[in-house]
């Protein structure tokens, strides 16, 4: 079953925050207090050590996206927010799974990993640990297929995203037209 796919309910927010203690708690607390649903959340330092990037996939049926963004924007450590419509974004996610792979099925699992351009990261007598990075929908498909062999354990990171580049611009400059960056306001 697809967790994300290209569901219209889900929008991705990439949020630049100050790299200070408690920032993630402030963001999470805001979402829970105002009843906004989070589908996935990924956080890591950005290219500037002063700031971190939080990528949040939100359920826009739980609250209007405009309201979620404005409330988020009111948090003092939130520096900027960019909203990415899945249709205008390059989204990637990482999946790690340990799959049943006894002598009978091992070959099929390895083949499947090859077809999806994943990697085998660990080998045991009856199991394989596999890795796949890609678009969330591709991970959904892969997950459906390996489930038949028996998933022992699986983790997905939640997605990160960048806006699509503007193909019309022949000078090769990154596009800004499709993504929305809010100005801070208090």
């Amino acid at each position: 079953m697809s967790m994300y796919g290209t569901d219209k309910r889900h929008h991705t927010l990439t949020v630049l925050v100050e790299n200070k203690s408690g920032v993630l708690a402030r963001v999470a607390s805001l979402f829970s207090r105002r009843g906004y649903n989070i589908f996935s959340l990924a956080v890591a330092p950005s290219d500037n050590p002063k700031f971190s990037r939080i990528t949040i996939v939100v359920d826009v049926e739980s609250a209007p996206l405009d309201q979620i963004m404005k409330q988020l924007d009111k948090l003092i450590p939130v520096v900027s927010i960019r909203e990415l419509d899945p249709a205008d974004a390059r989204e990637r996610e990482l999946l790690l799974a340990t799959v049943e792979a006894g002598p009978d099925t091992r070959g099929q699992v390895i083949q499947l990993v090859g077809v999806f351009e994943g990697k085998i990261v660990d080998v045991g007598p009856a199991h394989l640990s596999v890795m796949l990075a890609g678009a969330p929908s591709k991970l959904d498909d892969f997950e459906d297929l390996i489930r038949g062999y028996g998933i022992v354990e699986m983790q997905r990171t939640g997605r990160v995203a960048l806006p699509m580049l503007d193909r019309v611009d022949h000078r090769g400059q990154p596009a800004t037209g499709t993504a929305d960056t809010t100005e801070k306001a208090g």
Binding site: S21, G22, R26, D66, Q67, G186
Partner: protein, 607 residues
């Protein structure tokens, strides 16, 4: 210059021109209390930390300056949570300093440890845990900046004991040293939107200005008055905005909302354009949202863009400071051909009793004398409602039960016109808001959004500290009074001569009213007793003058006596009628079209 963290903290408050702070010491904040002895800042020792927070709120609401409270860790900090939540709801600038256990003990469940930054995350505009004494001046500067700019609000600074005891090299940051890359409040409105708003405003036939607390925060009362007078558009003032536009002004319709007067509520319902200025479409104003002002277009001016479209989609949403936006709007109106109207300035008003909450304003006064003849039919419709549905009550002379509304009217008429009134939450608050005549900004102190019972006594004390030149009365209920009355000990010992009028109906009156109206008169846990406690004896035990009034004949003399006392607090125990209900009323969840007027006015409701 080397200072301890504690010294640096107090010096930083001095640099912020703090003149007074309200607090109560304890273990973790002990180091910070030592340099208070050498400071120019007045410290007022409260009897409960909640009192410190509400006093700081009262101070902030009447002065416009941030209120400062200082308390210890653990229970001291958690006791100030209610005032923080209250200030957050009402956008009151507060700086609360809490002691914290030493950094080496944080997370160990140490004595009097509480995660106050975690607890207050959702009820402060921001909070800080100081982890290095060298950060103190910068963090204090940031805290005051955040509390007072943009949409104001409370902030909290948590200072661990070892940080207060460690040393740092003193410095004072310049504005550029503040480290707030994510904080850039907007103040000036978008000119294109302002022009759009001006065009809407000139074409509307039934416009209403819906003025909220943001007018007061932005110090925009004068600008609002000019806007109303030049456009001839009537004004409703929400509970948070009482006083921002004079009740005696012919264009003032008074308070809208659940207990607003008929004209204010109905004017909004029938309006074709609501100009919301610093107001936020609170559920107590809108009633059932999808039935609220169904024909109205909305211009919504708020400094917090998150308020736009939150409850009601605006046709023109302008992010900005209310004063600046109104000034820009006036210029836009002028460029669209709206002329100055100095000759038709209204505002001299009727006598106080004529203009209470706009409800009994002199007939025809809204209709006449203002520019833009096209609005005359609308203004005369409003006048007709004012005449037909004034606020009413029936005070029989002598032995008849004492009506709370009568007490408020007597207070209004027997005190200076710029008297500051504080209130708690409940029936008495509504009576005070309805029957007082607010003609000056910053004369009404109350808990609007959070609805905190017990707010009146401490906030009145804070207001008196902030404005010692003004008379300060608290209109309180007996239920509310019992929650925070101990702060009158603070007031007595600090010689802060506030005056408290308890409208003592021996009930949790508003809850009683709902049980009577919506729970088939099944009264569950609302009876309090008129004389347990003995309010006069209690007042006297706290160093106040105590007076009891049971008859309407004695109300005036008691108020006059209270007004003559200037060296200590006064408490008057008014024994009021428990059966009196607040009208008009829009039941929770009902449409504002279904406003219930006083039973004596039922029959012939034109709506």
């Amino acid at each position: 210059m080397e200072l301890t963290g504690a010294q640096a903290l107090i010096k930083s408050l001095e640099m912020q021109h703090v003149e007074v702070m309200f607090g109560l010491p304890g273990g973790a904040i002990l180091p910070v209390y030592d340099p208070i002895l050498d400071s120019s800042i007045r410290h007022i020792l409260v009897r409960h930390e909640q009192g410190a927070g509400h006093m700081a709120q009262g101070y902030a609401q009447v002065t416009g300056r941030p209120g400062v409270a200082i308390v210890t860790s653990g229970p001291g900090a958690t006791n100030v949570v209610t005032p923080l939540a209250d200030a957050y709801m009402d956008s009151t600038p507060l700086v609360v300093i809490t002691g914290q256990v030493a950094t080496t003990s944080i997370g160990t469940d140490a004595f009097q440890e509480s995660d106050i930054t975690g607890i207050t995350m959702g009820i402060t505009k921001h909070n800080w845990l100081i982890t290095d004494a060298a950060d103190i001046p910068r963090i204090v500067s940031e805290a005051f900046h955040v509390a007072t700019t943009g949409r104001p609000g409370p902030v909290l600074i948590d200072i661990p004991k070892d940080i207060a005891q460690s040393t740092m090299e003193w410095y004072w940051p310049s504005p550029g040293d503040l480290d707030l890359p994510g904080y850039r409040p907007v103040t000036e409105g978008d000119p294109a939107l302002i022009r759009e708003a001006a065009e809407l405003l000139l074409t509307a036939e039934r416009p209403v200005i819906y003025a909220g607390g943001g007018i007061l925060k932005a110090r925009a009362a004068d600008a609002l008055r000019e806007l109303a007078e030049r456009t001839g558009i009537p004004v409703v003032t929400t509970l948070m905005a009482r006083g921002c536009f004079p009740d005696s002004h012919p264009l003032c319709l008074g308070m809208p909302g659940m207990h607003g007067n008929y004209t204010a509520v109905t004017a909004m319902q029938k309006s074709d354009l609501l100009i919301a200025l610093g107001s936020r479409f609170d559920d107590r104003v809108t009633g059932r949202v999808n039935a609220f002002a169904p024909e109205a277009k909305i211009i919504h001016v708020d400094i917090d863009p998150a308020e736009h479209h939150k409850v009601r989609r605006a046709d023109v949403a302008i992010a900005g400071d209310c004063r600046l936006v109104i000034e820009e709007l006036l210029m836009a109106l002028e460029s669209l051909g709206l002329s100055h109207s100095d000759a038709t300035r209204g505002g001299s008003g009727g006598t106080p009793s004529d203009a209470v909450a706009g409800a009994t304003a002199a007939a025809g006064s809204v209709a006449a004398g203002f520019p833009r003849e096209g609005l005359a039919p609308w203004r005369s419709e409003l006048s007709a409602w004012q005449k037909r549905f004034p606020l009413v009550y029936d005070q029989q002379p002598g032995a008849g039960p004492l009506k709370p509304q009568f007490v408020v009217e007597q207070l209004r008429d027997r005190t200076p016109e710029d008297t500051i009134v504080a209130s708690g939450v409940g029936q008495h608050q509504m009576f005070a808001s309805q029957y007082w005549q607010f003609d000056h900004p910053y004369t009404w102190v109350n808990s609007g959004g959070l609805g905190t019972m017990g707010f009146a006594v401490p906030s009145a004390i804070g207001a008196k500290v902030g404005r010692p030149d003004k008379m300060v009365w608290a209109v309180d209920g007996d239920g509310c009074f019992q929650m925070t009355a101990q702060e009158l000990v603070t007031a007595s010992s600090e010689r802060i001569p506030v005056k408290i009028a308890i409208l003592n109906n021996a009930y949790l009156g508003m809850v009683r009213q709902w049980q009577e109206m919506f729970y088939e008169e099944r009264y569950s846990e609302v009876y309090l007793s008129p004389d347990l406690p003995d309010y006069v004896g209690w007042a006297e035990a706290m160093g106040c003058v105590g007076i009891r009034v049971e008859s309407s004949d004695d109300v005036g003399a008691a108020i006059d006596k209270a007004n003559s006392v200037d060296d200590r607090p006064v408490v008057i125990d008014f024994r009021t009628d428990a059966f009196e209900k607040v009208y008009p009323m829009v039941a929770a969840g009902a449409s504002n079209d279904d406003i219930m007027v006083d039973p004596s006015q039922v029959g012939g409701n034109p709506a």
